[in-house]
Point group: C2
């Protein structure tokens, strides 16, 4: 560790066309793009020894407004220079560093996180999307937002969320505490804002997909309660597409 | 005119890569794309005899949230069918029809307009843009928003706007009445909202470019007054790029 400076990076990414956070061989990923740029900015950086760690490992097509990442660099630069230097090599691509900060080696982007915030953006209108294509889920059917709000109340709190969990989820337990799930309407836009210490894989998209069933009247709000209590993936109504999902921010101690 | 039904269309477009509203041979235009789709929806439609008319003829790279267009069609269809039929042929491109309405032949999208609204979106931050690339103007320098607001007050009202007028402007007179020019700050976002019965070519971009000079301290608010009073294009400070400009909406009688 000697000679390494740990930086906390706040990054933004437009996930369309990316294969999610985690580096892989099949296609471009946020981690891969970021580590390539860090390596160009700092040639002594070794991405195998000192890979980047993110607060959340988002899926293909999912976006981030302020994802937190940490990385150990073999040089001690002014944080503004780290931010602008990495951005230069990110070369106006889908990933940018909004801010860099020096942090202690106790800080871990993933394990120090106290709370994560996600937003799901739905657009309820008959016309196809232009500006928000791949960045929101377009729903044509008229939706009963009050019914969706009632259904959402069943999900908030400490529950076994197995129904809303991907079969690929690696979390040790399906029991999580959902701190809030607020549904905000603004014209044709419907935002689903939620936060929790941690989420299961596909949890937000699965919850939003089932709320959509409630909104269009295919499910009652009580059906949501039943789906949750079933604690069975087979009880899932619908998994919303990744397009509308945004990792918003993270809380850390102090 | 007999047998023709006039429709008022509310359209949205993402102007990146388009050569503006007006049809031309050099590249794709909003009018060209829209008329092609109308022709596929309604084969008897003759775009030479009955071309589309828009409330505002936006430039290359400029966007619209609710541009108003009228067109005469040789069939009398349910407006929802007109909207969805044209959208089908717009085929998930940069232009969509948000709404179609039957209107009388007295209605003219351009000549009936009482007031036009534009918004210019600036993003003031050091990091390059991702989501808003080509959709906002990124400014790195810290800006004095209060000074910009003071400078903007000089522009509001009835003036000769020759300084803020493109050499290609076809308006009969450079004298216009700017009803408002409000500057709204929301985090890193700065919105310039303005409205007038009509605008000169490049007027909004020229006003925003000069407000940028004031914001970064190159001009004082009084320099804006001097530039306006000079009534000379040579007194223009800076013309902001088209990326951040949005045609927002139009008011019509009743």
């Amino acid at each position: 560790m000697s000679g390494l400076t740990r930086y906390k990076l706040t990054i933004e990414y437009e996930g369309t066309g990316l294969f999610g956070w985690q580096i892989q061989d099949n296609g471009p990923t946020v981690q891969g793009i970021l580590q390539d740029a860090i390596g160009k900015f700092c040639r002594a950086y070794d991405p195998v020894e000192n890979r980047t760690h993110a607060a959340g490992r988002t899926d293909a097509g999912v976006h981030a407004l302020a994802m937190i990442v940490h990385v150990d660099l073999p040089r001690d630069d002014d944080p503004y220079k780290v931010m602008s230097g990495i951005n230069f090599h990110l070369n106006r691509g889908p990933v940018v560093v909004l801010k860099a900060e020096r942090v202690s080696h106790d800080f871990h982007a993933r394990f120090s996180a106290l709370k994560r915030y996600y937003r799901y953006h739905m657009i309820n209108r008959p016309a196809p999307l232009t500006f928000q294509r791949h960045r929101a889920w377009q729903v044509r059917a008229p939706l009963d937002v009050e019914a969706m709000r009632e259904a959402a109340t069943h999900l908030v709190g400490h529950h076994d969320f197995t129904t809303f969990r991907s079969v690929e989820c690696q979390s040790q337990s399906p029991v999580k505490t959902l701190d809030n799930l607020d549904i905000i309407e603004a014209g044709e836009h419907i935002y689903f804002d939620c936060s929790a210490r941690s989420f299961l894989h596909h949890q937000v998209r699965s919850m939003v997909g089932c709320l959509y069933y409630v909104g269009k009247g295919k499910w009652t709000p009580d059906d949501m309660k039943g789906a949750l209590e079933a604690a069975d993936r087979a009880a899932l109504g619908f998994n919303a597409p990744p397009d509308g999902l945004y990792f918003v921010k993270v809380d850390y101690p102090d």
